[in-house]
Structures are given as C-alpha cells and as structure tokens.
Amino acid sequence: MSAAAIPDKPATSGLGGQTGLALLLPIVLVNVIGFIIPMLNLARMSFNEYVPGGGIREAFILGNWIKAIADPFNLQLIANSITLSLGVTLATLIVSYPIALYIHWSSGRWRSLLIFLVIAPLLTSAVVRTYGWIALLSNDGPIIRSIKALGVENPPRLLFNTTGVMIGLTEILMPYMILALLAGFGRLDPRFEEAARSLGATPAQTFRRIILPLTLPGIALGWLLCFVLAISSFVTPKLMGGGRVFLLATEIYDQAIVTLNWPVAATLSILVLILFGISLAVYTRLLKRLD
C-alpha cells in the first residue's frame, strides 16, 4: 500500500501503454471475479428477502437491516462481539507491552531471536494453537488440575465458554500486537529515560511520564489492529466457544452455511465492515490528537 516503495523514475523500457494494460489484464480479471463483483453483490444481497425453506427472493427491502440492529438477539450479538473484542484487545495489550518494551531495549542476535519467537506462532495455524489451548484448558488439563491441587473445590470452567475464547484469542493476537507496538516505538529513545532518571525520576515516574506517552502511537496502532482482528475472528470462537459463545463472525458463518439465510449473513458482514470503518476513523482522530 505504501507508495513509497515505488521509485519515482521515468520508464525507460520501450514497451508502450497498451503493453502495460495487457500486463495488468490477468490481475484485473482475478480481482473483478474474485473480489470486486462478490463484494458489490454482498452489499446488494443484504437487501434481498429470505424466504424460509424457499431460498432467496430478489427484492429491495430494509428488513434485514432493521432486524440486524433492532432484533434483541442480534443486538446481543453485536454487544457480545464488541465487548469481547475490547476485552481481548486490552488483555493482549497488557501481556504484549512488556515483551515489546524488552525487545525494543535489546539488540543484536538476542533481539533477532526474540523477534523470531514472536513471529513463529504466526506461522502455525490458528487451528493448531487453538487445539493446544483446548489441551491446556480442558477440565482434566494441567491448569485445572493445578488449581484443584491448590485446594479449590470447584475451579471455574476455562473452556467452551467466553473465558476460553478470551484466553485463546489473546494469545493468538499477541504477535500482531507486539509487532504493531514495536513499529510504533520509534520515538522511544533510551537517552530520554536516562535523562529522566539522572534528573531524579523514579522508575515508575519515568514510565508514566516518558515511556508511556512516547509509546502511545504504538499502542493506538496495536489497539486498532487487534480490535479489528478480534471482531472478525472466527476459528478460535468457533472451536473454543463450544457452540455457546455467539459472536458476529460465528453467526455470519452459521447463517451462511447452516441456515442458508444469505441476506442476513450479508447484512451482518457489512455490519462488521462498518465497525471496521468506525475503528479506523477513531484511530485516525486519536493519532491526530497525539501529534
């Protein structure tokens, strides 16, 4: 997306403008059939009418939209998705921040190793990591057993409920948060901290007055990225929710595949995109205020 990668030099090749269009034709075709038409059609689909048992009738009704934002079940769905995503994003920030700070302060091979370890989980699929969590959090798993060994009679369930989904999602999103934080830590110069400390600031003061303000852009970026990823996440809620956690993404899938109510699924999808847009707008305003 960054136009900066494109050098601003004149074309020297002897190939003309028509050649350029010919070279672009395949990618245009793929995206028209696989991306642009489907997305436009999705928006159109949200105004069609679902006939139970009879499929979909071409129409132009607002019924799906009214249902999406007025039906108590759907309202609950939206509220669940937003609160869960906010909670997960906050938890992810808290557990990622120390790691990002530590990586920012380290250097050389050690830094490369740490960055590799942070990226490594991104390269194993979300299904596998979710599976690992299922083993860890199940009722006869090591965590519940340790809690029981400490003498707690009825330990809380950690799997197939909202708690499980939150734990799993937090871990799944950590690499993204750490990378976003690191990208935003550019302004944090160790000399500022040294200066603060040599002027007599305690570590807590240094953190609150120097480190935290200077890392706010990174926090904002990580917050945006993880919130957006959390609200559209599907695999972890589906596998760790055990059919008891109802979120926008899981409902889109169920409506599309199980109920075959595509108009409602399309409406909820567009709703997710609207939430994306709102998050982006909030982020942009926040960033302006930070500058």
Binding site: M1, A5, S13, T19, I27, V127, A183, V228
Partner: protein, 264 residues
C-alpha cells in the same frame, strides 16, 4: 544492550509472557507422542500410535495432497500474474496503476469471513462451488496482495542503470526483462513464492465456505476434526506441518530476511 537497566523482575515477567505465547504451539510436540485414546496433557503413556493412525487416515492424506497441489498451482499463477502486473505498475507506470495497486492489495484488509461469504454467494450462482479451479481463484485473491507487495519492493530495488546499460548495448525490452530485471528480482521472487505457498496452504476461513463433499483441504479437515473429536492425531499433523513450514520459512529467510518481510 545489556547496559540498559533490564531489572530481573522485568526479565522474569517477559519470560512468563513468552511462555504463554509459545505454550500452545509447543504443546503439540509432546502430545503427538501420546499413547492415550483421548487428548490430554501430560499424556499418561507414550507411543507412536497416532503417527501410525495418521498414515491410515485417508481423508487427512488426500486433503493434504489437495492442499499441496492447490498451493502449487496458486503459487505459480500468483507469480505469473503478479510479476507482469508489478512491471506495469512500477516500470511502465501505466495510467491508473497506483490506484489498481492499492485496490488489489485491499483484500488483505478485509476480514476473511466477509470475503469468504461474498465469494461463496457469487460462486454458488456461477457453479464454481466445491471445484478446484474455484478455490484456486479465491486463493489468488488473497495471495496476490502478498505477491504484489513483495515483488514491488524487489523491483523497486533493481537499479534502473543496469537495465539502461543493457538496453544501450542493444538488448530489446524483452531481453532486458529476461536477462537483467528478472534475475535481479530473484530474492523477491523466491520470497513471494514461499509466502504465496504458505498463505494458500494455510488458508482456512475462505476455503471453509467453498469446499464441497468431494474436495476438502488440510486446514479445513483439521478444523472439522478439532470441532468434532478430541484426540492426539491433530498434534501429529501439526508436528509434521511445523517442519514443513519451517523448511519454507528458511527459504524466505535465506532470500530476504524474515524480519524484513514482517517488520519493515
């Protein structure tokens, strides 16, 4: 920078948090050697029985082969489509190409659950559902943004002077591209190859919408398996996939440097 005051409480905290991050991925290694009938950790006995049962699971083997051929076809097509496109955008500066570049990298920003549904609805009407070429097309939509970005950087790094020198020595445009530009883009092409392969091979959510009864991919099969049963077999698949992925990552790392691909 060891001189920086990294107090030991911070180090201990970071260690615990890293453990939290890596635990679920590391856990599959011991679990894969479990001798138990059901998923549990730590296993009460050890064996290779789940690796053996994996070899007899025809669905897993055939979905692996589907995923492999899918990823190979998608990767080759991604390169064949993205290299000319990048050339048109960066070298020829075809009018409107910067807009197209932004448009075609946009699918990366879309949630896959939305894109998957959108493609499902269109494919259902044109009869591409559950077909190999349909899934290839859908995967291309998500691999092309990666290919475009990596290849745009690679082509941007190719020194124009080399191309000009070749042209002034009498090489035609096609010869310049074939003998100078493409060889100089090689690290980027290798990285794009590996990246497209991994993205296609791992793609789950979009594919979940498009698979049919006769055609499933490995990620889809693993997802359905974890959804319905809890036994150690998925751990065995994960371990084998880990080494498979590692080999591909080492290729990216050799060609470009992992940190460059992810953290600019």
């Amino acid at each position: 920078m060891e001189g920086h005051q990294l107090s030991w409480p911070l180090r201990a905290l970071v260690f615990v948090l890293m453990l939290f991050l890596l635990a679920p991925a590391l856990l599959v290694f011991p679990i894969s050697f479990s001798g138990d009938r059901l998923l549990s950790f730590p296993p009460s006995s050890w064996s290779f029985r789940w690796y053996q049962s994996l070899w007899q699971n025809e669905l897993i083997i055939s979905s692996f082969l589907t995923s492999l051929s899918l990823a190979l076809v998608v990767t080759l097509l991604s390169l064949a489509i993205a290299i000319p496109a990048v050339y048109a955008i960066i070298r020829l500066k075809t009018p409107g190409s910067e807009f197209l570049y932004n448009l075609f990298t946009a699918p990366l920003l879309l949630p896959t659950i939305v894109l998957g549904l959108a493609i499902l609805i269109i494919f259902a009407t044109i009869g591409l559902l559950g077909t190999f070429h349909g899934i290839v097309l859908a995967h291309l939509v998500v691999t092309l943004p990666y290919a475009l970005r990596v290849l745009a950087v690679a082509l941007g790094n190719v020194n124009l002077a080399c191309e000009e020198a070749a042209a002034s020595l009498g090489a035609g445009p096609l010869t310049v591209v074939r003998r100078v530009t493409l060889p100089m883009m090689m690290p980027g092409i290798i990285a794009a190859t590996a990246l497209c392969f991994l993205v296609s091979f791992d793609e789950l959510v979009i594919t979940l919408f498009l698979t049919g009864p006769k055609l499933t991919t490995l990620p889809v099969e693993l997802f359905r398996y974890v959804e319905t049963s809890a036994d150690p077999m998925v751990a065995c698949v994960s371990v084998l996939l880990f080494f498979f992925t590692l080999a591909i990552i080492m290729i990216i790392d050799r060609a470009m440097g992992l940190t460059q691909t992810f953290v600019r």
